[in-house]
């Protein structure tokens, strides 16, 4: 319950600043139900959500983040190729000077892979069943932290 109040406060706090989030489906799988549900929930929480659609490459995600100048990136992967894809994405982001953009990953990620993914610099990993409220809250917090820096 305490979580819910916090979230409302956060939403209020961010109401007058624009937070832009990129939601991207990385890799070859074509299921974007989950990504769309998250995109919609973030929109309803007052964020500006850029949605890229399915089958994106790490290069496309990075270029889109640059053109849209987003505050946060959320990636969804269901194909199982999360380690190579995220390794590449995180490297490209650093190379293009975007290492400070918080990146979240969602999808069917086997638990043993999580430490490795966090080592890559991914801020958090949302497994299936994560409440939308948590995703919104962490996204807002990450965006606020970055804009304070």
């Amino acid at each position: 319950m305490g979580g819910a109040t916090n979230l409302l406060d956060l939403i209020k706090k961010t109401r007058n600043r624009r937070i832009k989030v990129l939601i991207a489906k990385l890799g070859l799988d074509g299921h974007d139900r989950g990504a769309k549900v998250v995109a919609r929930a973030l929109k309803d929480a007052g964020l500006e959500v850029i949605y890229t659609g399915i089958r994106q490459t790490p290069e496309q995600v990075v270029e889109t983040a640059i053109q849209e100048d987003v505050d946060v990136i959320g990636v969804s992967i269901l194909s199982g190729a999360h380690i190579p894809l995220m390794t590449k994405l995180m490297r490209l982001l650093r190379e293009r000077g975007l290492g400070d953009i918080p990146v979240f990953l969602g999808g069917t990620i086997p638990l043993p892979d999580i430490p490795k993914l966090k080592e890559l610099g991914i801020r958090n990993i949302f497994l299936p069943g994560t409440p939308l409220r948590d995703i919104i809250k962490e996204t807002l917090e990450a965006a606020l932290e970055r804009s304070r820096e």
């Binding site: 929109k43 929480a45 964020l47 500006e48 850029i50 889109t64 053109q67």
Partner: protein, 313 residues
């Protein structure tokens, strides 16, 4: 941030894409900084051809724009897209999905795509959307394509900022003809019947053709007779025809002097949008603090107006 802006503009002019992206963000965030940026970059003689694309929601505007980008790229041109989607008036959030259809161009250095929420109090085009056109213009983009949301205020707004206006419709969207009649049929320089791969397309085409002929839709532009073209954006059909007609229109407005006039109209409109934004935001803030008695609403409204304006003294 001020000194920063000059460096940023310098880097953007040198082609650094992250600087372009950030410059556009500054324009969105603060009218003062936007004004400073424009004072540095605005050129009297705008060079970019601004193409406005409006029409029925779901008629294939974004898919069509993606095809136009491919075509222009192959001709060696640089293309910028301003893709406008509505802001939810309640949550103030927005879901910007036009890019989905254009992502094949995301990594192309000759293309820059930016999504812009409407944000405005009225739900129309925002000041920043128009200001971004000036940035792309200065950065040397040859074609600046603006996708409008195709309903309500933005349709009419697009008249004020585009050199060439495309109105897109498609068969099988139900009452596409009715929707077109309701206003936007008067603003197009070029009418596009997209999704012509669909079986019902011929009937819709015949109707539109007849309607344009008889003047039932389409207005008397200065000697430019609105044109109708059939395309299938998914199949890539009719794109050459469309591009040819767009070029024809461009030549026409250049010869007739409309081209420069439209740039003046666009800038006048940009100033008006900023004035509206400043006024309405201030009005909104002040109106929260008044306690109307109900005895003399008119006086109270005038008082509120005066107070709003006095904030700018």
């Amino acid at each position: 941030m001020k000194n920063n802006v000059e460096t940023l503009i310098g880097n953007a002019l040198n082609g650094d894409r992250a600087s372009i992206g950030r410059l556009l963000t500054y324009i969105e965030r603060s009218p003062e900084i936007a004004s400073k940026i424009l004072s540095i970059i605005i050129q009297e003689k705008g060079g970019g051809h601004v193409i406005g694309v409006t029409g029925i929601p779901g008629s294939g505007k974004s898919t069509l724009i993606s095809r136009l980008i491919s075509h222009y790229k192959n001709s060696g041109l640089r293309v910028a897209v301003v893709a406008i989607d509505p802001t939810s008036p309640l949550s103030r959030g927005a879901l910007l999905g036009d890019r989905i259809r254009m992502q094949e161009h995301a990594t192309d250095p000759r293309v820059f795509i930016r999504s812009v929420p409407t944000r405005g109090v009225k739900g129309g085009l925002s000041f920043s959307g128009v200001a971004m056109i000036e940035v792309f213009d200065r950065l040397g983009f040859d074609k600046i394509i603006v996708e409008s949301i195709g309903v309500g205020q933005t349709d009419i707004d697009i008249m004020n900022l585009a050199h060439t206006i495309l109105v897109v419709t498609a068969p099988g969207l139900g009452d596409e003809i009715q929707a077109l009649k309701a206003g936007i049929m008067e603003i197009g320089d070029i009418y596009v019947l997209n999704k012509s791969d669909k079986p019902e397309a011929n009937r819709t085409y015949a109707y539109l053709d007849f309607a344009l002929e008889t003047g039932e839709i389409g207005s008397e532009k200065i000697k430019w007779k609105p044109r109708l073209v059939k395309t299938s954006a998914v199949m890539g059909q009719g794109i050459e025809d469309l591009v040819d007609i767009i070029e024809e229109h461009l030549q026409f407005i250049k010869k007739s002097g409309i081209y420069q006039e439209k740039i003046r109209v666009r800038r006048r409109y940009m100033v008006r949008l900023l004035a509206e934004k400043l006024f309405l935001e201030t009005l909104e803030n002040l109106s929260d603090s008044i306690e109307p008695t109900g005895k003399n609403i008119y006086e109270e409204a005038v008082q509120l107006l005066k107070e709003t304006l006095s904030q700018f003294d």
